[in-house]
């Protein structure tokens, strides 16, 4: 009982203004992080401008845990580009490389087939049932650069 009384006393003794200032400061930090994130979304034109690589299907180029910077421009999608896409009905985005492109004459629509560098076969098994090609609306962005991945350091590499 005495301990609870002490806690209540210490709460009462806090200056209300100080607490309010701290709460507002915290709110400012959170909102500025949100502003930067949304701003990046606008600048890069991609729904998620920074992604983390989740699987080992693009090794040795991208390892699990690598950070990728994405950009989505109106440029047409061409073979060799590394794209991040969502399969219909699946939440998790996949980062793979485009290996086949068929661009239609009149509409400019593209049929795209992707494959992970480290996978044996193409991604048709990952697409939705009966889906043979990806289209532009599935693709969230192109990878333009990567951040340094600290996991792949000398401790793991026995060759040094």
């Amino acid at each position: 009982m005495g301990w609870i009384g002490e806690q209540i006393d210490s709460i009462k003794s806090l200056n209300f203004r100080q607490v309010l200032t701290q709460a507002v400061s915290l709110g400012m930090i959170v909102t500025s992080a949100l502003i930067i994130w949304k701003g990046l979304m606008c600048i890069t034109g991609s729904e998620s401008p920074v992604v983390v690589v989740l699987s080992g299907s693009m090794e040795p180029g991208f390892k699990r845990g690598d950070i990728l910077f994405l950009h989505m421009s109106k440029d047409p999608i061409r073979a060799g580009e590394i794209v991040v896409f969502n399969v219909d009905g699946r939440e998790i985005p996949i980062v793979h490389r485009v290996i086949k492109v068929h661009e239609h004459q009149d509409t400019g629509e593209v049929d795209v087939l992707t494959k992970g560098d480290n996978n044996f076969g193409d991604d048709r098994l990952l697409y939705a049932h009966g889906q043979l090609w990806l289209h532009r609306h599935h693709i969230m962005g192109r990878a333009v650069g990567q951040g340094l991945n600290m996991r792949e350091k000398k401790f793991r590499d026995n060759k040094c």
Partner: protein, 167 residues
């Protein structure tokens, strides 16, 4: 102001900023490299050329691919992804790019190669347009850096033509 917590925080923030700066400079240094790669491709044989049951044409080829991509490597290069794509136009499609073969080059020592191979991925058209079709074999390379911006380029080798009739 001089407690351990503040000091560690200041040190960490500074370290991360410097690291990001170094990564940026490393990436920037890649601009000073002017690469001069060379490549040559020959179609040695058309193994199969038929129309599948779905109505799409399919070709199987044996290729001789040789290239020297040593000049693409800088100290900031992690690997070079190289692939050969057949590129052609059809009445339905303004552009078709079909990757026939690809490879990952992990280091400069392996960047000069000459191989003979059948196509790794199936060369299938959308439709039946490949008889007598002229096509290019374009060698694309994507340089993946240890850190920073990736860049890509390609070399078009034209003058290939598929046979007029199935075999």
């Amino acid at each position: 102001m001089h407690s351990l917590g503040y000091r560690v925080n200041a040190l960490l923030a500074f370290a991360v900023t410097i690291l990001a700066l170094i990564c940026g400079i490393a990436s920037f240094s890649d601009n000073f490299n002017s690469p001069s790669p060379s490549a040559e491709v020959q179609v040695l044989n058309i193994n199969r050329f038929r129309k599948k049951l779905t109505g799409d044409d399919e070709v199987s080829l044996t290729l001789n691919i040789s290239a020297n991509l040593e000049s693409l490597f800088t100290w900031n290069t992690k690997q070079v992804f190289v692939f050969l794509a057949a590129e052609y136009e059809t009445p339905n499609n303004a552009l078709n790019q079909v990757s026939l073969w690809d490879s990952i080059i992990p280091s400069k020592e392996r960047a000069r190669f000459s191989i003979e191979t059948t196509n790794k991925y199936r060369f299938i058209d959308q439709g039946s347009n490949l008889r007598g079709k002229d096509f290019n074999l374009t060698m694309h390379w994507h340089v993946m850096p240890k850190t920073g911006k990736m860049f890509a380029d390609n070399l078009v080798i034209s003058g290939f033509r598929l046979p007029e009739a199935y075999r």
